[in-house]
């Protein structure tokens, strides 16, 4: 925008100019010419009269704009301001900010105070489907009823026209866009899903509490109420009762001579005892460490004796399962190629080297790395030893063929990556016991060591600068 020259201002705000009645500027005229002339009418009294009618509605500019945009009448005019000129200063912003619905011709402005067009062709105000009531001072007295009647009538008509248009499918797109635009510009938290209040579960806000422990007559409900820790002591009582039952049963069997010494090994590996906090939560009571230890000791004693199903179930209530890593070795499924040879594919990583190995079931111990024989790819003996290790461990040195691809890292990392990939692939050809042996030997674990960063103030990751006494 060039400063200091009002005249040469780009016609961005033609409305202001028009509203202030400062007359048309050159730019505006150009703009007006761009507006297609839909219809042109001759000067006629009817047009003048209609213009007067429009002038009478100048007091209700929004309505006018609405009527015009909805195509009730068109203006074929060089007269008036530019396309999007709104009426009145108050509507300036809204009109400029609100995007006009697509498909409507830009409403040519007509301000009642605008001087008539030089051509003399009056703004042809042609209300299309209906005739407006002429408003005259004579009818002023009857004006209110007439006026409001008119207002109601054409409001209803408006609605009718809009619904007609919608039914005709003309305004659907426009209406949807309008809705979206309004939702974007005036966001409301009332209907937005993300603005919904998220409340915590009541159990998180109100911690579990004891209800009143006694009835109306004052007698407590639990028979161990007067100990202070009724849940814990009743649990101990129950556990000890079960122990006594078991011992009594054993004594009876022994008396009959049917007692057998066999102790079945219980599957305790995959589970752990409840921790003190979990027990406290279960009982809704505070416990001391000694109480907890005593309880666990009692349960363990219960486990050592041979007990029946319900006692087992009672004890299992206080054990939680723990995921055992050693059982989760993923064994790749075997695949078969065209010749019917079984093979298995697996991946391995070491530092920044990634490798993929395909191990064939039958072979003579040939290894191809990136299409190159391993002897040529790994000239250093140490790397070839790394490749050899899985087969040597399983005594299958010359029995498998391997094809692998590797990228990244250095020679040692690539060798390590291939080794891991080969070991994983070999799991498919080997028994579960041998898989467990491999796991314990460390063949199936990815080496997590990476280069440690250098720290400031030191020469390397660990090496410090030479210390000088003085």
């Amino acid at each position: 925008m060039r400063a200091g020259c009002a005249r040469s201002r780009v016609p961005e705000e033609p409305a202001r100019g028009a509203a202030l009645g400062q007359g048309r500027k050159g730019g505006l005229k150009n703009h007006m010419e761009v507006v297609p002339r839909l219809r042109q009418r001759q000067n006629s009294t009817a047009a003048v009269g209609e213009r007067d009618q429009e002038a009478s509605f100048g007091k209700r500019p929004i309505l006018l704009w609405l009527l015009r945009t909805r195509g009730y009448y068109e203006l074929a005019t060089p007269g008036g301001g530019a396309g999007h000129a709104p009426r009145g200063g108050s509507h300036t912003q809204s009109a400029t900010s609100r995007p006009a619905p697509r498909g409507t011709p830009p409403p040519p402005s007509l301000h009642p105070r605008d001087p008539p067009s030089p051509t003399g062709a009056c703004a042809a105000v042609r209300p299309r489907p209906f005739t407006l009531q002429p408003w005259s001072p004579a009818a002023k007295m009857a004006a209110p009823s007439v006026f409001w009647g008119a207002a109601v009538s054409y409001r209803l008509f408006l609605g009718g026209r809009v619904s007609l248009a919608l039914r005709q499918g003309v305004w659907k797109a426009a209406a949807a866009e309008l809705q979206r635009a309004i939702a974007y510009l005036f966001p409301s938290g009332l209907f937005e899903k993300q603005a919904r209040p998220i409340m915590k579960h009541p159990e998180q806000i109100f911690p579990k509490q004891r209800a009143i422990q006694w009835g109306e007559d004052g007698r407590p409900f639990h028979f161990l109420f007067y100990t202070g820790k009724q849940s814990y002591y009743s649990l101990m009582h129950e556990a000890y009762g079960k122990l006594l039952d078991v011992e009594k049963r054993q004594n009876q069997l022994q008396a009959k001579g049917l007692f057998s010494e066999k102790t079945k090994t219980k599957d305790l590996i995959g589970s752990r005892w409840l921790i003190k906090e979990e027990l406290e939560e279960m009982l809704v009571e505070k416990l001391s460490d000694q109480d907890y230890a005593q309880f666990i000791r009692l349960l363990e004693r219960l486990l050592t004796v041979e007990c029946s199903a319900e006692e087992e179930e009672f004890v299992q209530r206080f054990r939680r399962s723990v995921t055992v890593q050693s059982r989760k070795q993923l064994i790749e499924p075997l695949q078969y190629d065209g010749q019917g040879m079984a093979f298995s594919t697996s991946e391995g990583k070491r530092k920044s080297a990634k490798a993929e190995a395909i191990v064939y079931e039958h072979g003579s111990g040939r290894i191809k790395v990136n299409g190159i024989d391993y002897l040529l790819y790994f000239p250093v003996t140490q790397d070839r030893e790394q490749l050899m290790f899985p087969f040597h461990f399983l005594d299958r040195l010359g029995k498998h063929d391997v094809t692998c691809t590797v990228s990244g890292g250095g020679r040692s990392s690539q060798a390590g990556a291939i080794r891991l990939a080969m070991a994983k692939a070999l799991c498919s050809f080997v028994t579960e016991e041998e898989v467990e042996w491999m796991r314990q030997a460390g063949l199936l674990t990815a080496d997590p060591r990476v280069r440690e960063r250098k720290k400031p103030g030191q020469e390397g990751a660990r090496r410090k600068f030479t210390w000088k006494k003085r």
């Binding site: 006694w214 004052g218 007698r219 407590p220 028979f223 161990l224 007067y226 202070g228 009582h237």
Partner: protein, 312 residues
């Protein structure tokens, strides 16, 4: 020997009894349970509202057992012979003897004290009678004992007769500071029964002293090494042998169940009479010559009792 004779001796003179018995005479006095000092300590006892018309009914229900000397027929539950068979007479060595237990000791055999079972029987009758009356009046009974060998048994006994037990570590202010430890408006026990008066380190149980402080009557089985002073109804007897403790538990359980059953019968009876009209007939004490009259009794008395109950 009839327990009645020794009972009358005890009631009248109170000489050989040794420890003071402030409550002995009061057990026969009628009247509803007034709010005593211990309940005042723990705020207000939850009041059970009774309709106006049944106050006299209630009075009659409560006063009826007090007109008979043995309303619950306690004497048929045991005999000296049954006590002897349950080894109740065996005490500790003479070196463990407590000075205040000397009146109850019959003698000493090979340095082991023998408890006088006739006195035991008399005291046991009083204790059981009192327990029955408390249970009849819907009092809270707390069984206390600290011998780990019988902890489970005591708790089971308490649960089976609908009362309460405490055989664990006794927290300091459980009775004296009950509103803080147990809840604001807790109701304290109306009777505490000690199966073992000493704790695990052979010292008097804290609850003995606390119950005396809170004016809660106590019944306790006192061995030769125990202090019977603060116990309201001491019962000299063996508290270490299993048969003895089993017998005592059985006795208490039986008498409590019997008393509760009697109360239910009396209430039903008086309700019926109230519906019929005035002119109520009093329900007499139980006359169970046969043992089938109290089907609620879990215990089966020893075989010698049926022959010997008339002249123990």
């Amino acid at each position: 020997m009839a327990p009645a004779a020794s009972v009358s001796r005890l009631l009248g003179a109170g000489v050989c009894a040794g420890p003071l018995r402030p409550r002995l005479l009061q057990s026969a006095t009628p009247g509803r349970a007034r709010p005593s000092g211990r309940t005042l300590a723990s705020a207000a006892t939850p009041a059970v509202r009774e309709p106006e018309g049944s106050i006299d009914l209630n009075d009659r229900i409560l006063n009826e057992p007090l007109k008979h000397s043995d309303f619950f027929n306690v004497k048929e539950l045991f005999s000296v012979r049954s006590l002897f068979d349950a080894r109740v007479h065996l005490g500790h060595k003479a070196g463990c003897r407590h000075r205040f237990m000397e009146p109850y000791i019959f003698g000493s055999r090979l340095d082991q004290d023998i408890i006088d079972l006739e006195q035991t029987a008399a005291h046991l009758w009083l204790a059981l009678n009192f327990t029955a009356h408390v249970a009849y009046r819907k009092g809270i009974i707390l069984f206390v004992g600290r011998n780990r060998q019988f902890s489970h048994l005591i708790e089971t006994t308490a649960r089976d007769c609908g009362e309460y037990a405490h055989t664990r570590y006794f927290k300091g202010g459980l009775l004296t500071n009950a509103p803080l430890l147990l809840g604001p408006k807790v109701r304290l026990p109306d009777l505490i029964i000690f199966l073992h008066t000493l704790n695990n380190v052979f010292e008097p149980h804290v609850a003995v002293r606390d119950a005396a402080k809170m004016q809660i009557p106590t019944v306790g089985i006192v061995d030769t090494n125990c202090n019977p002073c603060l116990i309201t109804y001491p019962v000299p007897g063996n508290d270490d042998s299993p048969p003895s403790v089993h017998l005592f538990c059985r006795l208490f359980q039986t008498i409590i169940n019997r008393a509760k059953q009697k109360r239910r019968h009396m209430e039903a009876l008086y309700r019926l009479q109230g519906q019929e009209g005035p002119g109520a007939r009093g329900g007499g004490p139980a006359h169970p010559p046969s043992l089938g009259a109290y089907p609620g009794d879990r215990s089966s008395p020893l075989p010698e009792e049926s022959g010997s109950h008339a002249c123990p």
